[in-house]
């Protein structure tokens, strides 16, 4: 059936324009984009979706999600994570391989895609492991994994310690056209640490993780990108020096891209005071100066992408002593609101912000999306950017509720999510 998305303010990350336009969707694609008022109800069935002055965005793409299935279905399933994604305005998500078993083989990749198809909500793109069992010893079958549907490789959550292995992974990934995504952490330096090492860790007596444990590995990956010519994507950038290193690499023309997560530009290490395990993440929440540098990196384009690092954990992992808690927070349902705050703060323009949440990740992973153009897949998100709400645990659709943003006032949220011309989620009025 034909759908008419009426009176939306369309945000185009390609042209960087925000314009009031009407969109006609036929089947799974955008068939026409027209000035408002130029369409009259013709003959035939037409379903009107009244955007009523809300924003219409290209469907958001999260290139860093943990869906926990297979193995940890009590934290999240591909179905529950897909629903949380749709509610957060995401039409596509890329899921990290640290499941049980890890996604290091065709069978796991195919299983994930099969479960995503059953959930039938958003597009799910598996990211495969770099090493077998994420053990950092032998490379996985990149070619076979790509054919099965993997869009990138990463040992996220269990960083590659062996520099030689990382070098070979990058050389080999380049041949297959797979993006290598690196979780940068020197495990020797971070060992035993549970929060950012600095004024607050000293005050509240928690073992620290120095900023240098991230920065050393960021520099390693930059050196390897230079050496191998293989593009490398730096996951969840959290420190000022990491931003500076990536900025310099880009100035030198190296194939380096980077992402950060909303908590790294919203919260700092003070959020850990009171031993709130929901504020325990990896890498840890950093200092005020680091948060400022991450914002600057987003503003000047050093940081290309905003990704959620959605990391569901149950009370079993979170209602425990701080040092025993698993790191991570959920993010699919709050990322858009927190990113819109950057627009309000004038760190980013609205099209810039949306580009970091859609077009750029699609380019890095070489997948569809990020554009509102005639003939493209109709993956769209309608957002009420004036909505103000207090996040409650009850409304969170992710199976896990581990976020320090519960009880916080947030602004702007998705009201309708369309994937391939089909409304997969709509907020109840």
């Amino acid at each position: 059936m034909t759908k008419w998305i009426k009176d939306g303010r369309i945000v185009d990350p390609v042209t960087e324009r925000v314009e009031q336009l009407d969109i006609i969707v036929e089947g799974d694609r955008i068939s026409k984009i027209l000035p408002c008022g130029s369409i009259s109800r013709g003959s035939g069935e037409i379903e009107i979706i009244d955007a009523g002055g809300n924003l219409v965005l290209p469907g958001l793409i999260d290139m860093h999600t943990h869906l926990r299935e297979p193995g940890y279905e009590y934290k999240e399933t591909i179905a529950s994570g897909s629903l949380a994604a749709a509610a957060g305005g995401f039409t596509a998500i890329a899921c990290m391989p640290n499941t049980e078993p890890p996604n290091d083989s065709r069978s796991v990749t195919e299983f994930i895609l099969e479960q995503a198809k059953r959930a039938n909500l958003v597009r799910v793109y598996p990211i495969a492991a770099i090493s077998v069992g994420q053990k950092g010893e032998r490379l996985t079958e990149f070619g076979d994994l790509k054919e099965a549907g993997a869009v990138g490789v990463s040992d996220d959550g269990r960083p590659v310690v062996n520099t030689e292995l990382m070098r070979r992974a990058m050389e080999y990934a380049r041949f297959h056209g797979l993006t290598v995504i690196s979780h940068c952490e020197d495990l020797y330096l971070s060992e035993g640490g549970v929060m950012h090492e600095g004024e607050i860790s000293t005050k509240i007596g928690l073992p620290g993780i120095p900023a240098s444990s991230e920065e050393i590995m960021v520099y390693r990956e930059i050196c390897l990108a230079k050496h191998t010519g293989c593009p490398v994507h730096i996951a969840h950038v959290s420190t000022a020096e990491s931003v500076a290193l990536i900025r310099r690499a880009k100035e030198a023309g190296l194939p380096v891209t980077a992402e950060t997560a909303p908590h790294y530009f919203t919260l700092n290490h003070r959020a850990v005071m009171g031993y709130d395990t929901n504020a325990k993440v990896s890498p840890p929440l950093r200092s005020e100066a680091d948060v400022e540098a991450v914002k600057q990196g987003l503003k000047d384009g050093t940081i290309d992408v905003i990704a959620t690092d959605h990391a569901p954990h149950s009370p079993l992992e979170k209602e425990v002593e701080f040092d025993k808690a698993s790191p991570g927070m959920i993010g699919l349902e709050t990322a858009l609101s927190l990113t819109l705050d950057l627009v309000k703060e004038r760190i980013l323009t609205l099209p810039e912000a949306i580009r970091k949440l859609s077009l750029t990740p699609s380019k890095i992973l070489d997948i569809e999306g990020g554009r509102i153009e005639e003939g493209r897949e109709a993956d769209l998100t309608i957002v009420d950017d004036s909505a103000e709400y207090v996040l409650t645990e009850d409304e969170i659709l992710s199976k896990s509720k581990n976020t320090p943003f519960i009880g916080k006032q947030l602004r702007g949220r998705a009201v309708l999510t369309m994937v391939g011309g089909r409304v997969v989620w709509q907020r109840a009025r």
Binding site: G198, T202, G205, L206, P207, G208, V320, K324
Partner: protein
Amino acid sequence: MGGFAHKDLLGMTQLSVEEINLILDTADSLKEISERDVKKVPTLRGKSIINFFYEPSTRTKTSFEVAAKRLSADTLSLSASTSSMVKGETLIDTARNLQAMNPDLIVLRHSSSGAPHLLAKVMDAGVINAGDGINEHPTQALLDMYTIREKKGRIEGLEIAIIGDIAHSRVARSNIIGLTKMGAKVTVSGPPTMMPLDVDKMGVGVEFDPRKAVEGKDVVMLLRIQLERQSKLLFPTLREYTNFFGINAEAIKRAKEDVIVMHPGPMNRGVEIDSEVADGPYSVILDQVANGVAVRMAILYLLIGGARSDKVD
């Protein structure tokens, strides 16, 4: 006695100057009980206190036990090996089960920083932090402050050196917070590998060399060197530590003439502290232990005895 509005004693962080003074004054009036023939008053009769020690402890556990008994409270001791923790029960579940038995206070020693804070959130009973990870050990700091006040007549304006593994010492952290609140001038000292980042932001001076740090000090507080830290690359050998960071009688001469030397115990004689110093005339190490009982009696009384009409005498 009023003015103490806390359910728990989690750390020096949570206490005001007035509250610290109230605890020390209360300890003053209770100290004499321990010197009587019959060392017992009925103040906390019918109250139950659980000593819950996830980590080994002799001094602190005994001190709490004695303090509770002198106030006639019923006490019960749990340790990690006798609790359901060995069966995999979580701290929160253990806490909920203990709460179901309706105790008045839990005294918790735990290897995780923030564990008492977690317990306090889920329990109606009061929680006393008897040492949590590398965070705080507030009753030790309070007995140290009591001892300093007893010997020096004041805390404000005193020059105090704290020497040892500052980064991993809950005694150091509680004393830094408490002593600076009370207006003392605190210098921390020890090898750079044991000095936490940005410690100066806690309002203390830093002098890595202990022999310089003791210069002109009214109080020298030594910390126990945990021998297992050697494997964590924090110092090469005990011999090397003693040579460069240990305090001997010669080093103490640089302090003020009426200096007092403190140590929370247990001591590594011949490592961080020379025997000559530990047993010297300026040592108040055993006074600390005696005062520990009075200070802990004061804390128990202020937390769960305040509402009763029974007089302390």
